[in-house]
């Protein structure tokens, strides 16, 4: 490839060490007219492997979002592995797997640094791609930025609020939710995702250190000394590492990399012309300085301030309105308050529902924006299906056994018989009873003289099949209202153990 004059592009320095060093020695460290062959070297290999893994994670999620029928199970498994979602599941339900995952990520981050952010986070990969796009369109350098406490305010507050039961900020910033959620306005990528990708275009991994609650949490663990990227004596102070660092955490001037903010993207390794950056064991790391202590103080203050700002009652009271009738929630949500407190609105349930019955709510106030609800006009909750509850990575929907679900009331059926076409038009129908899985709606002789829908509310689980099947639109005369609390059916649906009857005569015709 042809060599390129200024500016000095990160990641393209390449070349075998000796040649590059000669070139730099000739040009001087500050000159930007250095020309080097743009070819990958041994030094960029770790970065390339890292990029490949991250892009593979992103590609998997995008594929799974596109084909949830085929990839539903791996999608929910991979979503549960996301650190932010595991944290949510830990807070929501104290799920055992979430406790284990959280502890494992914390320990591994302390030992190896924030590998999750650069290797496993699909949104991080998307940010890298947005940054790469910028590099193609309008090449520029990144630059080191000193740590500023205000950058952790938003993610710390989001975490604190989530802990206290207001999930909107956390769900808006948590990277898996950002990537996965469908917009409330139309069923495509959300506005938040587009804003975050735009930030990647302009500021690289800036999002990871100034907005992402997952990144913030991991940065706390990364402050525990462990393996880290560090400068060696060979460093020529050329500054390429700092210009290549999308997280703006590499300071070539002080020859230091802020481990807390470093996402281990390894761009600096690839940019270093003579291999003077090394991923070294803990011993080589400098002792904890005053910066860290002051940071910890500030972080603690931030969380406390968040907690004071949003007392449990305050957060819940503000966040949770009381719509009447309550929306029809997916199975396992258990209550409006619980869903409002724990759902990160990642919309994994929306994607995996085989009947496409779940859609993000657009009404109900900030506490319910984007949270999932069943819309029986779109589809009904299939009797034997627990896909959404099984898939929820934040444990906002409790994983249900199918038998438990058969007895779980999501809503209650309502009927306006005067608008039913059997009564109104005097024709036979029965579409509602046909789909009712429990017998809560049955056809029988009614006052009209014809078979019309008869309700047995104590058998209704609120699946919405009757409303879905009813041919009357736009307003179905049979419909289901949600419940504030999903509770258990008062009575067990009757079961017959009777022997099969036999034909009275051999051929009744």
């Amino acid at each position: 490839m042809a060599s390129r004059k200024a500016p000095d592009l990160p990641g393209r320095a390449g070349a075998d060490g000796a040649r590059a060093c000669r070139a730099i020695a000739r040009a001087g460290p500050e000159r930007r007219t250095v020309t080097l062959p743009m070819k990958d070297t041994k030094a960029s290999r770790p970065r390339n492997v890292r990029r490949a893994l991250a892009v593979a994670a992103l590609a998997f999620f995008v594929l799974a979002f596109a084909f949830p029928e085929r990839l539903g199970a791996p999608l929910s498994f991979a979503a549960k592995l996301q650190f932010g979602q595991a944290t949510a599941a830990l807070v929501s339900a104290g799920a055992l797997y979430a406790v284990a995952l959280f502890a494992a990520y914390a320990a591994l981050t302390a030992v190896f640094g924030r590998f999750f952010c650069a290797f496993l986070c699909p949104l991080g990969a998307a940010l890298d791609l947005a940054g790469a796009l910028r590099m193609k369109a309008r090449p520029r350098n990144y630059a080191y930025k000193p740590f500023r406490a205000w950058r952790i305010a938003a993610p710390a507050l989001a975490l604190a609020l989530f802990w206290l039961g207001a999930s909107l900020p956390f769900g808006t910033l948590e990277p898996y939710s950002v990537l996965a959620s469908v917009s409330c306005l139309w069923e495509g990528p959300s506005l938040v995702l587009m804003a975050v990708l735009a930030s990647g275009y302009f500021y690289g991994r800036g999002f990871c250190n100034s907005a992402c609650p997952t990144g913030f949490l991991l940065s706390l663990f990364a402050r525990i000394p462990g393996r880290r990227l560090a400068f060696t004596e060979k460093c020529l102070s050329c500054g390429r590492c700092g210009k290549a660092c999308p997280a703006s955490c590499c300071d070539p001037g002080k020859r230091a990399i802020d481990r807390a903010r470093c996402v281990l993207c390894l761009e600096c390794l690839a940019a270093c012309p003579n291999g003077s950056l090394r991923y070294v064991p803990k011993e080589a790391a400098p002792e904890a300085g005053p910066v860290r202590r002051s940071f910890l103080r500030k972080a603690a203050l931030g969380v406390l301030a968040g907690a004071a700002f949003a007392t449990p009652e305050g957060a819940r009271g503000r966040a949770l309105p009381d719509p009447e009738p309550p929306p029809l929630l997916p199975p396992g949500a258990l209550s409006l308050a619980r869903l409002g407190a724990h759902c990160t609105h990642c919309h994994t349930c929306v994607r995996v529902c085989p009947n496409h019955a779940i859609a993000p709510m657009t009404e109900g106030g900030p506490g319910l924006w984007g949270k999932p609800a069943i819309d029986p006009y779109r589809g009904f909750c299939q009797y034997d299906c627990v896909e959404c509850a099984r898939a929820c990575p934040a444990a906002a929907l409790t994983d249900l056994d199918v038998v438990v679900k058969h007895h779980l009331r999501l809503g209650e059926v309502r009927l306006n018989r005067l608008e039913c076409i059997v009564v109104k038009n005097g024709t036979s129908c029965g579409a509602c009873a046909e789909l009712c899985p429990t017998g809560a709606v049955d056809m029988g002789p009614g006052p009209s003289g014809r078979d019309e829908p008869l309700l047995e509310p104590r058998l209704c689980i609120g699946c919405g099949a009757c409303q879905y099947a009813c041919p009357v639109r736009p307003q179905s005369p049979i419909w289901v209202i949600g419940l504030k609390y999903q509770d258990s059916l008062g009575s067990t649906p009757p079961v017959s153990h009777a022997e099969d009857e036999t034909l009275a005569e051999e051929f009744p015709f």
Binding site: C385, C429, G430, P437, D451, V495, D500, L503, P508
Partner: protein, 304 residues
């Protein structure tokens, strides 16, 4: 005996056709039709043996399936419940028909249903997708409007047009293989009602009245053969079936070229168990779409 007569008739027909030219053939065919019953009912156990017995009486499946044809076998697989609930057609029977059709040289056998429950769950849980595929059929999806094409129903009184599945339109012959059940909305589902799984929008039928509009579905392309499985008949809680559903051990299979006649026989079965029967067969007969009066039919009653 039957088969021999059939072959002789065919040979005679061919000879007459050769002698008189192509015009002679319909006469021969007519002569041959008269020998077969309008409706065959077989009682017994073992659904495939019952099917074989019924088709023997009707002159063999070869009368309906010709070499090189595309055949649609339309079961009821609308419900995400297992075969034990008898809400869907028996997978064994459908696989048997598919195999026989392929053995007769059918180029392609397609199985589909526009399900009521979620389609993937219904195809899977009914056991029909696996059984039909195992027998060599193509199992076609039918869960999106794109698989259906709008056609005019000539003489449709309540349904001037409807969207039929593309496989149904493409097929040279349709074999209708429903299961007999109680039906909360239509009182009974068997041959005619099963065709509601071949169309896309069922709303218009519900709006117009099921009894009144169901005969219209027989106006476009009648199934050449209707095989109603009544081995175990759901008597209540249909069509999906519930924990407290009652059943009748019917041990019966009804086969007829006339869906209306087949349904009339099925209605007699439900009536014998004290269930109310629908009126759509009668309405169909009044419009000349089929025969509902069983006394006017040549019925063959067999045991297998």
């Amino acid at each position: 005996m039957e088969r021999r007569t059939f072959i002789k008739t065919l040979a005679a027909g061919a000879a007459v056709a050769a002698a008189r030219g192509a015009l002679g053939a319909p006469g021969a065919a007519l002569a041959q039709e008269a020998q077969y019953p309008d409706l065959v009912a077989v009682r017994g156990t073992g659904i495939t043996a019952m099917f074989d017995r019924a088709l023997e009486a009707l002159g063999g499946l070869g009368r309906y399936v010709k070499s090189g044809q595309t055949i649609v076998v339309k079961p009821n697989m609308g419900w995400a419940v297992g075969p034990e609930a008898a809400a869907n057609t028996s997978p064994e029977l459908v696989a048997h028909i598919v195999k026989n059709a392929l053995n007769l040289g059918a180029s392609k056998v397609i199985v589909f249903d526009n399900t009521c429950d979620n389609w993937a769950a219904a195809y899977r849980d009914s056991g029909l997708e696996a059984a039909a595929k195992g027998a060599g059929a193509t199992v076609a999806p039918a869960h999106e409007a794109g698989y259906f094409q709008e056609v005019q129903l000539p003489g449709g009184q309540y349904l001037p047009s409807t969207a039929l599945h593309e496989a149904y339109l493409e097929a040279d012959a349709v074999i209708n293989v429903p299961v007999l059940k109680h039906h909360g909305g239509a009182r009974m589902t068997a041959a005619m009602k099963n065709l509601m799984g071949a169309i896309w929008a069922r709303g218009p039928l519900h709006r117009a009245g099921i009894d009144e509009s169901l005969p219209d579905l027989l106006l476009y392309k009648k199934p050449v053969l209707n095989v109603v499985e009544a081995a175990r008949v759901m008597l209540s809680g249909g069509p999906r079936g519930r924990g407290d559903s009652r059943y009748l051990s019917g041990q019966l299979l009804v086969a007829s070229e006339d869906a209306v006649a087949a349904d009339s026989a099925c209605a007699a079965v439900l009536a014998s168990a004290g269930l109310p029967v629908p009126t759509y067969m009668k309405l169909a007969e009044e419009r000349g779409i089929g025969k509902a009066d069983l006394s006017s039919l040549n019925i063959q009653r067999l045991n297998a």
